[in-house]
Assembly symmetry: D2
Homo-oligomer: 349 residues x 4
């Protein structure tokens, strides 16, 4: 019963097979291998973006930091939610790569509100040269809390960005999960909704470690390549990145793995909602649940082998009936039986 | 007949198998997986350095830049050879990560000479606060030209570094090849010779993309971890790095693959030396040869499918009897038959 | 009637005279001139800190950014008020120099509250290597809103900083105004209250452009010197900085000019408080007032030549009875008659 | 007998007077004061560049680093002479501000040779994304060794830069001295010769501390302003910079002070050349001489109060007849009598 993260499970067997297949013969490196041309073509097709520049890196932090650096000036500020991964979990990587700072925009359900974004962008530059300048808006889709921006919500944010000529970045570490949740096309969730560049995640959704950086307007392509190299993120044996991404895209594997992960969370959410002492903190649109339930329940689940993070302090102190906050994450490999097992324990308390 | 680079061939089958084996079940990420503890223990054993801090990254540029940043202050200068990878092939990554600059020290056979290093270090700081300060000495072992520093040569350089209290970094992208060439122990080639930290390369020697950063004194360990994360180089699914490194170390695979690569270069060198129109530019201590032979020979080899880099301009213009410079690199997968085929063509001209 | 800023008036005549006196003969530069030794000795005496390292720079942004870079690691976050100059008015200079980010701590009357600071520092590092690490706490004394931390308030903040081993920086762009307001000694307001380093401002208080950076523990002295040089902030003809600072300290000029500036604000505040349509937004502890009064009054004052910033949009639109927010700043050169003139106009409406 | 530097003497009296005159009444800061408009107009007139963007900073290092950062990308390399101030004397400031590295181009008489520049620029980018990219060419006029590029020499260098689309920066810390030496116009020595931006020095030529940054094409103007602020180099009481620069330009003061400094060096050079044991190392085109004469002479001069730097070690050891290298610098305040006194002592030995 592993719910600690969507980076703790195995990679999908197709990905392994693709690596094995790719591991033959001699080839150019650094993205010049033929397989990368196919990946680029396929991502352009998937995104209906025949001009897009496509690059692979191995970590989500690298994808975000390199894209933000490409779209932000060192004297800019990036607008994001206070729960954004780029703010909380990247140890200043976005600031390191870009030189810019981050402005935290008040959010509801981990989604910046249009009013708050408008106010935040408006406020900047009132100070002319003295304050930071308006830089990119970064939207996390799906959010760190497991919620998803609807297309209208995305549009409301990007419209404001466009009004102020701010580029829009999407942190899509869980892009596939969000897409499946919305049931729209990749184009609709990105450039048709006003997004300029996306970190198209694969690592949390069945790959070993590959994220695609997609820049819909290729004018920054060469700059991105140089930034990637300068950051030490250009792989010599790049074929092992393109092989993973090729497997990811083949036969819509990425959509299937995301669907599975989301389905397991839906199953889990349903069970939690049926429990009279459990409460969901956010709408579980994708593969993450933040739930509150009594310490007693947690202790029992943990004894039975359930692994996940507790969000608010020591779960072993205090009133056993007092609730704590658990973060539960599923991935493609989570089985229905695991969910059932978890829920059975919970309901037995 | 692929001699373009030691990053163009396949990974060793053991590495693939190790990835397959590692791809089961759930585990912590970010280096907290058990397999990484084993890797650390094994590297400490191999280096006879029970206190060493050990970290994995996926590219050689990341390994070098992160280590240099850990040992250099932003106002320092790093002393290296003009042919060093950190100077020529990392698109300012060392400067980006460290803030320091590089001072190029005149070299012979791609190895900094002690006299030149002493002069260069002495010269710095004569300007007090105005000039850059003395930072790390970075030694490439084996060098980009295929030569290897003897233990005495290493000691001569590190003694100077110690005299000026400069830390010593070793860029060991081809560490194994150098070690096999010298026939010494890893400890003798590093900390016993005065080296403080080493980029212990695996990518060019049979891995898909893993380098270990070994810091013999662990006092900078936590700083290194933060720098790695801040650079976007900490893998969430870190097990796929540790699995590669585990396979690399198991049963001395790394020494065997390096020996094979070196043996193929030795075979090739012997054949070239027997050719009356071919000339070697450097002593081929490891798996790289820089050779000069007539354009005519090059054209013939290329037609037969030989792939390698020509170092001095367009090989199709000029006198067909005029020599050009070819860089020929072998790896663990190069077969004796490939070398024979290459030499047969050459000798047939 | 100039109330736009305390950087818009003339330098004190003593400062000019000191420059004239300093402009004779030949001398070493870069702070090696004799006059700088006297300045250092005098600042050490004033602060009762015989070991302190003392450096001069020409702008407040340089002083803050260099000190923060000296005390923060690139992976840290700096804790400050949302109204801090380092956050709002330095165009990312602190981030540029330090690599760190800023965490905005909720404040009352522009002063971080101890509870909010404790919560903010506690929250950091819960994420281990993933989030930024705890860095310096930066306190603005006096604040940008014209309020002053009492010694107890300072102590409450620095105690928390010490609990978490965070160094404490004081942005003292209006240090003298705060000191005069509190009636304490420089030592009491700094190191005795737990402050490690202070930007000791002169520019807003009668100098042309000099700030002293005072590091009570000199262990970072040489690092600071290198950072200053690397930032381009080391003056060759440094004597013109030390001459200004010498004049500032001589005969307690700095305390006199601050007292005058504060007294004019007190006079102004008293008059505003007597007006039934005017309201002060903050306690005017030093030389800054944020006041609200009707647009009608503003328009009249402006017509009569009063210069100051309006904080909330276009003062010419909307109901003339509706209030706006004015920021009024005095300096050493503001005369009592100017205040009287301003208040007479206001009261005539 | 002060010859240690051209930053050790007093500022010109006109500059002091201008500061006194400027120190009246209230004014906008940050370069928005009226006096700065006049300075901009005057510099445009002097350079025959009506569109040029003009900014003031207080140190030469700031001027160079900010201009280079404006014209170089972080992944570029800047081409300069090995004796360039930006390489030897700015403690990594150019690298800090720009992120770029420096490529040292072999020089004769401290002037990069066209052949060496062509070779150096050609060599970069042969490595594609792996190496640094071609960035600005930075020419020091006059050089650190006291030599001056003729207009033809300048043109030969900038033609190469243009061929490779590299912008051209001129470090004009001693711009006036070079201009007077050549007898040409500022336009001829800059944009007409292919220079894009110039650090127009004042500090070494009679000011307290002001350098103008002149960007002939204003397209980077706003970026420069933001970089200046972000670097902490925007003065609030900017009037004291513009007042100095106004005095510098008025009545061609800058040309007169430079002429005087050059004349004193010419007088000194003539005397040295007449001495049979003295030797000049470079053509003393401006106000700097590198001369070799016996230790015995040096010791005598020093006893008589002559101050200057000895370039090669301890002047008190070794054979008193063995020569040492002295750097002798004059400025506007050096008197003919001082030169005569120096030469009399020298010739008396």
């Amino acid at each position: 019963m592993f719910f600690a993260s969507d980076n703790g499970g195995p990679a999908h067997p197709n990905v392994l097979q693709s690596l094995i297949d790719a591991n033959a013969g001699y080839t150019s490196g650094y993205g010049a291998e033929e397989a990368m041309q196919d990946v680029t073509a396929e991502i352009r097709r998937v995104f209906e973006a025949p001009e897009a520049a496509v690059y692979l890196v191995a970590t989500g932090t690298a994808a975000n930091a390199l894209l933000l650096a490409t779209y932000a000036n060192p004297w800019d500020t990036v607008f994001c939610s206070p729960m954004a991964h780029i703010h909380e979990d990247e140890c200043n990587a976005p600031e390191f790569y870009s030189g810019a700072k981050l402005t935290l925009v008040p959010a509801e359900n981990a989604k910046m509100t249009p009013g708050a974004l408008h106010a935040a962008i408006s406020a900047e530059e009132s100070r002319g040269v003295h304050g930071p300048q308006r830089g990119p808006v970064s939207i996390t889709q799906a959010t760190e809390k497991g919620t998803v921006h609807t297309l209208d919500e995305l549009k409301a944010l990007t419209d404001i960005a466009k009004e102020f000529k701010c580029p829009v970045h999407m942190d899509g570490a869980r892009f596939a999960n969000a897409l499946v949740s919305l049931g729209c096309t990749p184009a609709e969730m990105t450039w048709k909704a006003g997004v300029d560049a996306v970190s198209f995640g694969g690592t949390k959704n069945g790959l070993m470690g590959v994220e695609a950086c997609v820049l819909f307007d290729p004018k920054h392509a060469w700059e991105f390549e140089l930034r990637r190299k300068r950051g030490g993120h250009l792989f010599s044996k790049h074929r092992y990145l393109s092989a993973q991404m090729a497997a990811y895209l083949a036969d819509d594997l990425w959509l299937k793995t995301a669907s599975q992960a989301n389905a397991r969370t839906a199953q889990l959410a349903q069970g939690l909602q049926q429990h009279n002492q459990a409460e969901l903190l956010y709408q579980p649109d994708v593969n993450i649940i933040f739930a509150r339930y009594p310490r007693r329940a947690h202790q029992r689940l943990r004894s039975a082998g359930a692994q996940y993070y507790v969000w608010d302090g020591d779960p072993d102190t205090g009133d056993p009936d007092a609730p704590l906050t658990a973060r539960l994450v599923t991935d493609w490999s989570t089985t229905p039986e695991t969910i059932t097992q978890f829920l059975d324990i919970l309901h037995s308390i």
